[in-house]
């Protein structure tokens, strides 16, 4: 098995068995800062090699996914799942956005198999982070004039995750190749090791959601598995329509299938405070993240192969 996955399972097991293992929050912050910067840098470096305008179609398509997914999720949650309006909107926003950790695992999965992918995917990752947040707020509040969109924009664009991703992108894009070489040992060579520590911690956090899982029951579990499956089909189809390679198509599936647990929770907590964060984090971290990491990623690869073979 891939050691990365085993680190996640170790964290999960340690958490469920109530072991004394805990990572200091500073360590969690350090490894997630390194991951976000690495992913951004990698994207920026690749962007150097690309004519900018060619990217317009993928960026637009990705924005569409970010708008579509929450609009599909919301009625499911509100009508079928009988969640309150704010809760349904907030969960929907999480699923319209994207999980950087899941993306990183997928990238590592491809790297192990030496499968290539389009270099601008980190850019699409950044693009997909944001629109669902706005949709979520509108779903919760309507287009009321009450919403302070200035504050919302601040919350969204200046949140830690986005700043590091975009910052990394820009640095990678603007830097000399020789200069980048010198920082590779930290940001590239250590990438998978750092990801392993990150997944250990994610396992611990996911385990701490087990209690809420029981309380909120079957519907949330079903939603947390069905939604990424639906998303992966949307994402993979989009990737294929955009003419992406098999690797790129698979990553598009991963982007659409994954649910946010950094940018969106922070933004929703402030912009839609009446939504219960336990619900959305339990779905996103307690169900969808483990599902994607353990089952989804290989599945989405097969989906991508299947689409490329049959269509």
């Amino acid at each position: 098995m891939d050691p990365i996955i085993l680190f996640f399972l170790l964290g999960l097991a340690a958490g469920l068995l109530k072991s004394e293992l805990r990572l200091p929050q500073a360590v969690y912050d350090f490894v997630s800062i390194l991951l976000l910067l690495s992913i951004g840098l990698k994207g920026g470096i690749e962007l150097q090699k690309q004519p900018f305008l060619d990217l317009a179609p993928s960026v637009l398509a990705t924005l569409m996914i970010g708008l579509l997914m929450p609009l599909v999720a919301f009625p499911l949650l509100h009508k079928l799942g009988r969640f309150a309006r704010a809760d349904a909107a907030s969960i929907a926003a999480h699923y319209g956005s994207v999980s950087v950790g899941t993306y990183a695992v997928a990238v590592a999965w491809l790297a192990t198999r030496e499968i290539g992918y389009e270099p601008h995917l980190p850019l699409l990752l950044v693009v997909l982070e944001i629109p669902a947040i706005l949709v979520g707020i509108v779903l919760a509040r309507g287009l009321s004039s009450d919403t302070k969109w200035g504050d919302v924009a601040h919350e969204v664009f200046l949140g830690k995750g986005i700043v590091l991703l975009i910052g990394g992108l820009l640095i990678g894009w603007l830097s000399d190749p020789e200069g980048l070489k010198a920082i590779e040992p930290l940001f590239m060579d250590l990438f998978k090791g750092i990801l392993a520590i990150f997944l250990l911690e994610m396992g611990l956090i996911a385990a701490s959601r087990a209690g809420s899982l029981k309380r909120y029951g079957l519907f949330l579990i079903a939603f947390g598995v069905a939604m990424p499956l639906f998303g992966s089909v949307v994402g993979a189809t989009t990737g294929w329509l955009l003419g992406m390679s098999e690797g790129g198509t698979m990553l598009m599936a991963v982007l659409a299938a994954s649910a946010s647990y950094i940018a969106v929770p922070a933004a929703m907590r402030i912009s839609v405070p009446e939504a219960n964060p336990t619900l959305s984090l339990t779905a996103s971290l307690g169900i969808t993240f483990p599902f994607n990491v353990l089952v989804g990623i290989p599945l989405y690869w097969q989906l991508s192969e299947f689409i490329h073979r049959t269509l």
Partner: protein
């Protein structure tokens, strides 16, 4: 054991979600708090265990020393704006201070 005259102030202690820090300190500035002190915390309350594994599960403990009026004003503001939707508790107690003029708005 008064150290000097007019030495009594209120100590307002708020324990709440770390995600609120920026907003809370902005509010405190506006409401005339003469200062504040923040420490990182974890805990359990009505909204469950918050064990500081990561940002979303972390608490902060905010202390404000001020006169009675400011304390009441802050408490009312917090009650109105945050109490329903956030993990938050609030206590008040009496303290003596060394330089009372520091704790005026």
């Amino acid at each position: 054991m008064p150290i000097q005259e007019d030495y009594r102030r209120k100590l307002l202690t708020v324990i709440t979600e770390a995600a609120l820090e920026t907003h809370l300190t902005r509010d405190l500035d506006k409401l005339g708090a003469p200062g504040y002190t923040i420490t990182n915390a974890r805990g359990r309350g009505q909204r469950g265990v918050r064990d500081a594994g990561w940002e979303a599960d972390s608490n902060i403990r905010v202390e404000v020393i001020c006169d009675d009026e400011t304390a009441l004003r802050i408490a009312r503001h917090l009650k109105q704006h945050y109490y329903d939707n956030y993990a938050m508790i609030l206590t008040l107690s009496d303290v003596e201070v060394l330089r009372p003029e520091k704790f005026q708005p």
